[in-house]
């Protein structure tokens, strides 16, 4: 093992690090450097995507600390793509001063994502988690002129660090019982003997830490404030990139590391293990997220609660387990991330023009900007799971796999609950659309100005959501093929 090889295999991460430093330097040395910083950040991310494509299909370093498999490469690309769109979003969001620092934090968070995705070893995963977390806390509190932003940052930080403590504690137990931190080694150890109580504690604690990351109820309390208070690009990144990476890692941990203690969440045939725990998390997320979202009048808060519900749906695939289940989860979380970046893009533009993101700011958007209204309706309808958009296919795939997984339709209860939740969710999604299409604008009637970059990126995202719904084959086969 030479350092050259390490450099070669970690080149995407390296490129992003260098980009982050360059952006930071430019931001520090020049005033008004918004455009050049964004351009360099975007360029760096694009080059990093290229570097991921150049990686060998399979390699491992340091016993899984840095693993390169088709799966990690695919999701590194997805995370980098999401970061790229967030950069575009941040560029049009002129509210943020110090663009250099902001983009540097964003890039550092992206490195966190890549480490998370690209590691099969608990310690490295934890480091990735912390790097991601710390960058996100700063990004959340970045808007110094807004007290809500500070509140959100503090709240996110306090909850997040507690959750990290849980995770680390859990990891330490697991290490203590199994004597290793590599995921596949843990899996082998677990299969060899009965599960000791201490190990169970470790597993549950690790799961709690991740439940916080994906904002599953009852560990979701930070999400509404963070989504609403943070600068819009930060919220978009928390909702998209951070979530995708967390689901990839969570899936790897439970399906590789804890595979022998899968248990069963079948109705009337529950077996202790992590899958009933995840099933309970999923059920409570679906119920809490959807029910509380009904009462929201702020679009970002509404998206936050719906995010809780969607975390619940996404967990279904992991509960089902297996290659199919994992692939359904990954597909769903990917399309969800794409959709949310788009939705936050629209929110950012509306917020810039009208000074807020409550329902009344969206009133009559259809006549003020047909493009924004059209894009937003595509994103919202995809979240609601209306064909032919991506969300519908995602749900069909996810629920189909889940129903097929339990013996004798044992997971029917969870699927029925999820469908019931989607039914509830339809009400509040329709309310958003009603505000946009039916209500008349209360105060301003001037058209909403949309700059070219936002126009293009939003159209691309909307088109992507539509295409992923009509022709999901390309992505699904790629995900399935990348899973071992």
């Amino acid at each position: 093992m030479s350092y050259l090889e390490l450099l070669k295999l970690a080149s995407p991460e390296g490129i992003v690090v260098v980009t982050a430093l360059v952006v930071l330097a430019i931001g520090l040395t020049t005033e008004r450097a918004s455009a050049s910083c964004s351009a360099i950040a975007a360029l760096g991310l694009a080059i990093a995507i290229g570097a991921v494509l150049m990686l060998p299909p399979k390699a491992t370093l340091f016993g899984g600390m840095l693993a390169i498999t088709p799966l990690t490469s695919l999701f590194k690309i997805i995370c980098l793509g999401l970061a790229l769109f967030t950069v575009f979003l941040a560029h049009s969001d002129r509210a943020s001063r110090n663009p250099g620092e902001y983009l540097a934090m964003l890039l550092l968070a992206t490195i966190g994502l890549m480490l998370l995705v690209g590691s099969e070893e608990l310690l490295m995963i934890f480091i990735g988690l912390e790097l991601l977390g710390l960058s996100l806390y700063v990004m959340t509190a970045f808007d110094k002129t807004d007290v809500r932003s500070a509140e959100a940052g503090l709240k996110y930080f306090l909850f997040g660090s507690t959750a990290s403590a849980f995770t680390l504690f859990g990891i330490s137990f697991i290490y203590g019982m199994s004597g290793t931190t590599g995921l596949s080694a843990i899996g082998q150890k677990l299969s060899s003997g009965p599960v000791q109580p201490l190990l169970a504690v470790g597993i549950v604690m690790t799961l709690i830490g991740f439940a916080f990351k994906i904002a599953a109820a009852p560990f979701h309390l930070w999400a509404p404030d963070a989504y609403q208070g943070a600068p819009v690009p930060s919220a978009a990144f928390i909702a998209s990139g951070s979530k995708v990476a967390s689901f990839v890692v969570l899936g790897k941990i439970v399906l590789v590391g804890f595979a022998p203690v899968h248990g069963s969440a079948d109705w009337h045939a529950m077996v202790a293990g992590w899958s009933p725990v995840l099933a309970a998390l999923a059920a409570s997320s679906i119920l809490v997220g959807n029910l509380v979202a009904l009462a929201q009048t702020n679009v970002r808060r509404l998206l936050a609660y719906s995010a809780v519900a969607h975390a619940g749906y996404t967990l279904l695939g992991l509960v089902a387990g297996g290659r199919e289940g994992f692939s359904a989860t990954l597909f769903y979380t990917t399309i969800y991330a794409v959709t949310l970046v788009g939705a936050f893009g629209v929110v950012a533009l509306v917020r810039r023009q009208t000074g807020g993101d409550d329902f009344r700011n969206f009133a009559g958007l259809a006549s003020r900007s047909p493009l924004l209204a059209g894009c937003m309706s595509i994103f919202i309808l995809s979240l609601a799971g209306i064909p032919p958009l991506a969300g519908f296919f995602g749900k069909f795939y996810l629920f189909g796999v889940t129903l097929g997984a339990g013996g004798n339709h044992g997971l029917l209860w969870l699927v029925a609950l999820a469908l019931f939740g989607s039914l509830i969710s339809l009400y509040y999604y329709l309310i958003v659309l009603k505000v946009i299409f039916v209500d008349e604008a209360a105060t301003q009637t001037s058209p909403v100005k949309v700059d070219l970059l936002s126009r293009i990126s939003l159209s691309v995202l909307a088109l992507l959501v539509l295409l992923l719904g009509i022709a999901p084959e390309a992505v699904v086969t790629r995900i399935i093929a990348s899973l071992p």
Partner: protein
């Protein structure tokens, strides 16, 4: 060939959205006429024997990994439904000719509903069918919430949530079938022997899910409020096409896939159907809003469809399909008169207010149309309603003789409320007109000012009404035209006793 109804209508929807305002209604009209022409052409060109089986027209792999195909097929039942969709679509555009407010958007949503309906009737893949089925619902919401009248947002939301509730049940049923059989192809699934255990719970879930859209009692309440809230074209689409989607789904998917489940539950379907017929007719008798009367009459007539399906014999089920056609045409006609011909000119739908206006004189064409529509709706021989209902009742006689007796009473109620509405709206007594002079002032001052110059019925309205009247008469006088195509297709299904 017939698959082009879907493509043309979708393309037309996009075209309408992007075209200049002045062209949108012409484009919409051309689109729907093209769809209708294709379905008519298919009706006369396709050999009758060919329609006995659900024959594939298009089959392209879509997501092969999950067994999804873009698979369209046609048989006599599908063709009948496509035909009624075409007729109703053309007339809805004609009856929306003077829409001014957000015209492009209106026709976009309208054409989406039509295109999705064509899709449902022609799908031979369960996933595809569900995609089209759900695709219809959201445009309906916008159609009602933006362009509707009385209490439109409530009505639109109620309708949409009911529809999606049904959709969620259907989703569960479809997943159960898919996971068990490992296929989504309707023809393959129709051969598959599902375990009786599964059929026992999956059938009611699936059928009830579809039946929500067909207005089954007690989940029918979305229908009257939705119909009243919708713009005229919306009501026509809802009653004429969308309610048929539910009944069609119940027949094509639920009954055909789970025959044993169907036989176990068919008595209960019949009970719900009979209650629906009687209850809705009785409620319609007490309504003061003309659109509510028609809305409840729709529920009542859809009860006949469900009763026909529940009989599980070829005659009853064929009658149900014929009734879907017949009711689609008649309900569209009734809503056209009430919503467009009357409401546009009088700005009221209250029967008491209308009865004072002596409208039989003022709007002779509307009166004529409404008489024809009422006669068809009551089941007077010579109209399609009679042919359909008598076929259903003959079928039901074999399966549930008691139900026929009760339904006979229901038909009297139907006649009663139809005649009541007819008399009050167009042939009010002159004494009442004097008595209600002051009532007019309350209702609408506009009317009083221009009462001497009621705008005459326009040419598009006449054309649309004539088309619908012709359809109901033609099928009423010569039901063999459709029955010859429906009956063999029904006989090919496997749930027949």
């Amino acid at each position: 060939m017939i698959a082009w109804t879907i493509y043309i209508t979708f393309a037309g929807a996009l075209g309408v959205l992007l075209s200049p305002r002045a062209f949108s209604r012409c484009l919409a009209f051309l689109t729907t006429v093209a769809g209708f022409a294709i379905s008519l052409f298919a009706l006369f060109q396709t050999p009758v024997g060919y329609l006995a089986r659900f024959n594939t027209i298009v089959r392209v792999p879509w997501v092969p990994m999950l067994g999804m195909n873009y698979h369209l097929a046609v048989d006599g039942i599908s063709l009948t439904m496509v035909l009624v969709t075409g007729i109703v679509a053309v007339s809805t555009v004609l009856f929306s000719w003077d829409i001014e407010h957000r015209q492009n958007e209106f026709f976009f949503w309208l054409l989406l509903v039509v295109a999705g309906s064509y899709g449902v009737f022609l799908s031979a893949d369960l996933f595809l069918l569900f995609v089209f089925y759900e695709l219809v619902i959201v445009p309906k919401y916008f159609l009602i919430a933006i362009f509707g009248s009385t209490n439109k947002e409530y009505g639109a939301m109620k309708l949409t949530l009911y529809s999606f509730f049904g959709g969620a049940l259907v989703f569960i049923g479809i997943l159960a079938a898919y996971v068990t059989a490992g296929s989504l192809d309707l023809n393959q699934l129709a051969q598959f022997q599902f375990p009786p255990q599964l059929q026992l719970w999956a059938f009611p879930v699936l059928f009830l899910g579809f039946a929500v859209l067909a207005g089954v009692w007690p989940l029918h309440t979305w229908a009257p409020t939705g119909h009243v809230a919708a713009p005229t074209a919306g009501s026509m689409l809802l009653a004429g096409i969308v309610m048929k989607l539910g009944a069609y789904g119940g027949l094509r998917v639920a009954m055909n896939l789970f025959p044993q489940g169907f036989h176990t539950w068919s008595n209960w379907i019949a009970v719900l159907a009979v209650i629906g017929i009687l209850y809705a007719a009785a409620v319609a008798l007490r309504q003061s809003d003309l659109k509510f009367v028609i809305g409840y009459s729709s529920v009542s007539h859809m009860g006949f469809v469900l009763l026909g399906l529940a009989t599980a014999n070829a005659l009853g089920v064929s009658g149900a399909v014929l009734q879907m056609f017949s009711h689609g045409v008649i309900a569209a006609l009734l809503f056209a008169v009430a919503g467009r011909m009357l409401y546009r000119r009088t700005h009221t739908r209250q029967l008491d207010a209308l009865s004072g206006m002596n409208l039989g004189r003022a709007l002779p064409f509307a009166a004529f149309t409404f008489v024809i529509a009422s006669a068809a709706s009551m089941g007077i021989p010579g109209f399609s309603g009679f042919a359909a209902e008598i076929t259903i009742l003959i079928g039901a006689w074999k399966a549930f003789p008691i139900a026929v007796w009760i339904t006979g009473a229901g038909m009297v109620l139907v006649a009663a409320f139809t005649l009541r509405a007819l008399k009050k709206s167009f042939f009010g007594d002159t004494i009442a007109s004097v008595r209600l002079q002051e009532c007019r002032v309350q209702v609408d001052s506009d009317w009083n000012e221009q009462s001497n110059s009621t705008p005459p019925i326009t040419a598009p309205e006449k054309l649309g009404a004539c088309l619908l009247m012709f359809a109901t008469l033609a099928v009423g006088l010569y039901p063999k035209l459709l029955l010859d195509r429906i009956m063999p297709a029904v006989e090919a299904m496997r749930f027949l006793k």
